[in-house]
């Protein structure tokens, strides 16, 4: 199993631990990753500005992966949704496809729609499989309650992103439960984190974040878990900022899914970057089952 790893702009600067944790977990599960240095912006930030610029930006990434004959694995849900959308638009609209390919041809590139764009969670669930993951888990969690945050751009529009059932998804919950943790029921599970409005309408953005945090707290979750750059920044960096500024601390730290999974697979916590989160999550180690005693004669 081999994928071109697409990190996007934010992970290498602001969430390095998401990258290192993902690499470590995927290596354990025999998923081979190829780095393509020429990858550029996924196109997401351009969507408000100019449709064609967004599609072109996405298409260049798709074309680069296609040139290497590799499917793409995306860590960020906004990046995933954007690349899927661009892929869809290019297939749907012949004129747009021609325009994009004419520009790409200047660099000797073209995109013919021959690759698949996958999110890390769907790779884990569909390509690796719950059974294989389960075998790798050495110390499952006990009594740990996790609020699973799905993220809008992986779920919707479902006919285009094709991640899971948009109304009653279960993919992420199953991935959480295989670690031994309980994926709690919470009413705002499928709602937006507020991230896309950060910087445009901060007040509204934080309304969303706080509502979700309060709900996760109500449901008794110890931690939130995410599989997206923007959601993680919102629930980690922004939650910390709000806690300091407004004094409204809901105390639901957010852990990236590869960190959650990696820890119970016995991967070194430094590799997983457990110390790199803004809000301390090291307490999660306390939920791990006791280490199996070394067999003595």
């Amino acid at each position: 199993m081999k994928f071109a790893l697409f990190l996007g702009c934010n992970i290498p600067v602001r969430l390095k631990h998401y990258e290192s944790a993902s690499r470590a977990v995927l290596r354990e599960l025999d998923v081979e990753l190829v780095d393509i240095a020429e990858f550029n912006c996924c196109g997401y930030p351009l969507r408000n500005i100019d449709l064609k610029a967004f599609v072109l930006s996405s298409a260049r990434n798709l074309a680069l992966a296609e040139r290497e004959n590799l499917n793409m694995i995306i860590l960020c849900k906004c990046g995933y949704g954007t690349l899927r959308m661009a892929d869809h638009l290019i297939r749907e609209d012949a004129r747009l496809r021609e325009d994009v390919n004419r520009t790409l041809a200047k660099e000797g590139l073209s995109y013919n729609g021959d690759i698949q764009v996958k999110h890390i969670l769907s790779v884990l669930f569909n390509d690796v499989g719950i059974g294989v993951i389960k075998e790798k888990i050495t110390r499952p969690y006990e009594n740990l309650k996790i609020a699973t945050h799905y993220g809008c751009h992986a779920l919707r529009p479902s006919n285009i992103v094709q991640f899971d059932d948009p109304v009653a998804p279960s993919l992420f919950d199953q991935l959480v439960e295989v670690t031994g943790a309980e994926s709690v029921d919470w009413s705002t599970k499928l709602d937006c984190c507020g991230g896309p409005l950060l910087g445009t309408n901060d007040e509204l953005s934080l309304d969303f974040t706080e509502k979700k945090l309060a709900d996760a707290r109500m449901a008794g979750a110890h931690y939130l878990t995410t599989g997206c750059t923007f959601c993680q920044v919102q629930f980690d960096t922004v939650q910390k900022m709000v806690a300091t500024e407004k004094g409204t601390n809901h105390h639901v730290p957010s852990i990236l899914y590869p960190q959650l999974l990696g820890l119970c697979m016995g991967i070194d916590k430094n590799v997983l970057g457990l110390d790199c989160n803004q809000i301390d999550i090291t307490g999660i180690e306390g939920f791990l089952a006791p280490e199996p005693l070394a067999e003595s004669g």
Binding site: P45, N48, A53, E107, D191, L204
Partner: protein, 561 residues
């Protein structure tokens, strides 16, 4: 006369330009911590900083940086050998030409008693250094032709400097060639140095024959073949009067090559006094280049070494904030416009669709410099810088790749802060207010809307794409509005966001541009796609809103133009 006047004029402009550019380093205020420090405080802090650095152990670092990074440009060698070779050839060759040939009165003739520009090794070296520059330019052109991928733009500023350099080099070589073949030039020299009277025709013929034969002079009266005795006699005369100052012109291989090409029309060129004309072109181009230097790309000859040295000894958090502010200002000038940042830029690809050069980091830096210079920029220009600044995803790649280590990421954050002070915030937040003010929905509150189509062309822009044209199948069930979490967040959503999602779809059916673009709902849409997911008619509600945002920003851009 003309020589002296232009020399001193251009020198004066050069010095004034240098002072002006350097004064900018103390005047440009980048970052909030720089705002309260005056230019004079910064200047005295710089003097203090330089003095204390020179008389400390850090002098070792400075010397090392000067040798490795300034003179030998090790940083470039690490990146790319060919590029280093091109740069070191151009810069090294030109510097040596300047020192040995351009400033020969002040340097070479002082150091070497026997200096004559027409004597070896100087005669050979002049052409050799020239060749080195030409080889460097050749490599640079070769690299450019060979490279693929998005190319950084070259602007006028880049070309002017290169054109001046080319004029200096080419006029120099041709001038040398015309002087070699010039008979009148030869006669002048004979009159002055040979000590022969006009009556001594035999000697004059012999010397002439020798110079025609061996030195490439083209004469109408003296033509070969010559007999051995005449040449022997010429050689003796030459050794007596000329050899002290003249090596064989073949050593000046480029000028000699040019002279061979010109020899068939040498008499014509000589009568037209072409070598005088070329001499004017040559020195005027040099002086023009000198005067233009502080205002051109070549100012980096000064600014980049200063930056490399200062950056090597600064200590983040420890150095005097006044000096840190100055260092940031020097970064503005230290940029050589090489375009590495743009080649690596994550969003440069967007430039193919959005023709705003401020998307490209090396152009954005130049725009920041214009902004700092205090020249009043138009609204259109400011909006273009704003757009470029916010398309940037702060991915840090430009900073990682800058060959001289400019902290570009830091500059971009400061640029955004600077723009915000002028009222140009994130385009989405900015547009939310700007377009709301233009298409004021409140005014329409009590009016009955006209049902005649208001702007057909506007809807045409939407029906051009498969996703946006889906608004036309909306049957007004209001599902989108009912499931919208933004609407649900407010007790009085209409007051907060203007039109609700289903109303916007309705406006499009009515072709009502002002209403559709003026609603704050566009900018408050969190893009969660819940509406689109729940639309029973398959209207791509979120995607329609995305495209309305595109149109609104385009509208604001066109309005500012």
């Amino acid at each position: 006369m003309l020589y002296t006047i232009t020399l001193y004029t251009s020198l004066a402009i050069f010095v004034a330009g240098l002072i002006y550019r350097i004064s900018n380093w103390f005047r440009y205020s980048i970052g909030t911590d720089a705002a309260d420090i005056t230019a004079s405080t910064r200047a005295s802090a710089a003097v203090g900083g330089i003095t204390s650095t020179i008389f400390s152990a850090k002098i070792g670092i400075l010397l090392k940086v000067f040798l490795l990074d300034v003179l030998l440009q090790a940083w470039l060698l690490k990146k790319d050998f060919l590029r280093w070779l091109a740069h070191i050839c151009i810069y090294g060759g030109f510097m040596l030409l300047l020192l040995m040939h351009g400033l020969d009165k002040f340097i070479t003739s002082v150091v070497f008693d026997n200096y004559y520009s027409t004597l070896n090794p100087f005669m050979f070296l002049r052409d050799f250094f020239g060749l080195v520059v030409i080889v460097g330019v050749g490599i640079a052109i070769y690299r450019r032709l060979l490279s693929k991928g998005p190319r950084p733009q070259s602007t006028g500023v880049d070309y002017y400097a290169i054109i001046i350099l080319a004029v200096i080099m080419i006029s120099g070589v041709i001038l040398e060639g015309t002087k070699i073949v010039s008979n009148s030039r030869y006669q002048e020299m004979v009159d002055e140095y040979a000590g022969l009277d006009e009556e001594e025709t035999e000697d004059l013929m012999a010397l002439g024959a020798y110079w025609v034969q061996k030195f490439g002079v083209v004469s109408r009266d003296i033509k070969g073949p010559f007999d051995k005795n005449t040449l022997q006699q010429g050689k003796q005369l030459h050794e007596m009067s000329c050899a002290e100052c003249h090596s064989r012109p073949q050593w000046a291989f480029m000028g000699y090559g040019a002279s061979r090409v010109m020899s068939p029309m040498a008499s014509l060129l000589d009568r037209a006094n072409i070598h005088t004309l070329l001499w004017y072109i040559h020195f005027l181009a040099c002086f023009f280049g000198l005067a233009y230097l502080p205002f051109s790309k070549f100012f980096h000859i000064f600014s980049t070494p200063v930056y490399l040295l200062a950056n090597a000894v600064k200590k983040e958090g420890k150095s005097d904030p006044a000096n840190m502010a100055t260092l940031r200002a020097i970064e503005m000038d230290a940029c050589t416009h090489c375009g590495d940042c743009t080649t690596r830029c994550s969003v440069a690809v967007a430039f193919n669709e959005i023709s705003n050069p401020n998307i490209l980091p090396h152009e954005k830096l130049a725009a920041f410099r214009r902004l700092l210079s205090g020249r009043g920029l138009s609204k259109k220009t400011l909006m273009a810088i704003q757009e470029g600044s916010y398309i940037c995803t702060d991915c840090h790649r430009c900073t990682d790749v800058c060959p001289i280590g400019i902290n570009l990421e830091d500059l971009w954050l400061n640029l955004k802060a600077h723009l915000a002070e002028l009222g140009y915030t994130k385009p989405e937040a900015w547009a939310r207010e700007a377009i709301g003010a233009e298409f004021n929905l409140v005014k329409l509150k009590d009016k009955t809307l006209s049902l005649t189509p208001v702007d057909k062309g506007f809807v045409g822009e939407l029906t051009g794409s498969a996703q946006a044209s889906t608004f036309s199948v909306c049957f007004g069930c209001q599902n989108c509005t009912n499931v919208c979490p933004v609407v649900g967040n407010y007790e009085n959503p209409k007051e907060m966001v203007g039109l609700l999602p289903h109303e916007i779809m309705h406006c499009l059916a009515l072709k009502h541009k002002e209403l559709a673009l003026g609603s704050k709902m566009l900018w408050d849409c969190v893009t969660c796609y819940v509406c689109q997911e729940h639309c029973p008619q398959g209207v791509r509600v979120t995607d329609v809103l995305y495209q309305l945002k595109n149109l609104a920003l385009k509208h604001l851009k066109e309005k500012a133009a």
